[in-house]
Amino acid sequence: MNKTDVLIIGAGPTGLFCAHQLGIIGLSCQIVDNLDKAGGQCIELYPDKPIYDIPAIPECTGEELTNNLLQQIKPFDVKFHLNERVEKLKKVENRWHIKTSSNQEFDVASIVIAGGVGSFEPRKFPLKECEKFEGKSLFYSIKDKSIFKDKTISIFGGGDSALDWAIELSNTSKVNLIHRRDGFSGAESSVQKVKELNDQGKLNLYTKYQIGSLAGNEKIDSVTIKHDDGEEKEFKTDYVLGFFGLIMQLGPILDWGLNINKKTIEVNTENFETNINGIFAIGDICSYPGKLKLILSGFHEGALAARGCFKYAKPDEKLRFEFTTTSKAAQERLGVKK
């Protein structure tokens, strides 16, 4: 059981800055995120794209912003639990117990949901029959590539994951790469490589095709693909891989009894608490009149939610407002007091 004052759900910029604000006022926290690294949408959707509206930072990338925020919370030694999704929530007297997808348990005084637009999950094929093969002969990510050796693999997608795996697996497997158009979103060098391999007969590239159907009982025997003009092709395949990027889903949070409106959680604007006492929501996932989905708004929301958490973590103490410039206590917590 991990005991801490606050559990932050989501390691995007809003969650990270909230950890800073908690640290400044002397509360401890830990952070859970479903991705394998901190940064949230900044890292997953636009690590290299510039952001121009962070106050006092004329221009930075999503990755730079994330790194700076991580640097800023370093003094507080915040513990991260990555690749984990929160699942179950239980009220135990005046504390909350939370369980994650890998059965980690937390005992906290309050919870800050900074979950963006939900946790990132792989986007799946539209076909119903895909479900029964998923995890056996159909995958959306690769954990053990050795199972593909000397087999026939059909890869769908046109981004970097699809191209990189097509190139790599073509060394040891028979690879079909299927994409819905002639253009690719992956790196140009990978596109060239795939075309070369196709010309050399080391890989079969099918463009303007999409998945039509799958056949097989326990495992996939064959896949049918459909051209834009309606023509169909069927070929034998042992495995099907789909790389269509990630989608964001609210997941188990939906079942916690929170007031949800259009996939966002309603909060008050005094301290960003939800309809459930002790549970706060900040950043893109919260909604209130006038809400702007800007990173700077998330920072503001995190600062107020952190102060809202104080009375749950330290019910017998009073929180005094202080500036980091002059507060001895804050500077001690930051480790900068001379």
């Binding site: 959707l45 636009y46 939900g118 986007r123 819905r180 989608i247 964001m248 996939k263």
Partner: protein, 106 residues
């Protein structure tokens, strides 16, 4: 101002007036038309405002930027007449536009 018609997957039709400068996505979200999620809020970063545009309108729409076709790779059942509705900015020329909302966004 343009009148835009949204056909939802359950065969319902919604026709609304949208001010110039707003997007077809914003028109749907502001008017509670179901089936357009717009998770990223119009940043061309998610493909959950995907629509099919009626053929006769295809060449009248603003052309696709590079990123839009890349995002459409991620959409649910993309077709040749697929567009991201956040990229369709309303002008008088789009008066009468008809879009069809797919059965799912993800």
């Amino acid at each position: 101002m343009a009148k835009v018609t949204y056909n939802t997957h359950d065969s319902k039709t919604h026709t609304i007036d949208i001010q110039n400068g707003l997007s077809v996505m914003e028109g749907a979200v502001q008017n509670d038309i179901p089936g357009i999620d717009a998770d990223c809020g119009g940043g061309m970063a998610c493909a959950t405002c995907h629509v099919y545009v009626n053929e006769e309108w295809l060449d009248k729409l603003p052309t696709k930027e590079d990123g839009e076709e890349d995002m459409l790779d991620m959409a649910f059942e993309p077709k040749q007449n697929s567009r991201l509705s956040c990229q369709l900015i309303i002008s008088d020329e789009l008066d009468g536009l008809v879009v069809n909302i797919p059965s799912k966004q993800a």
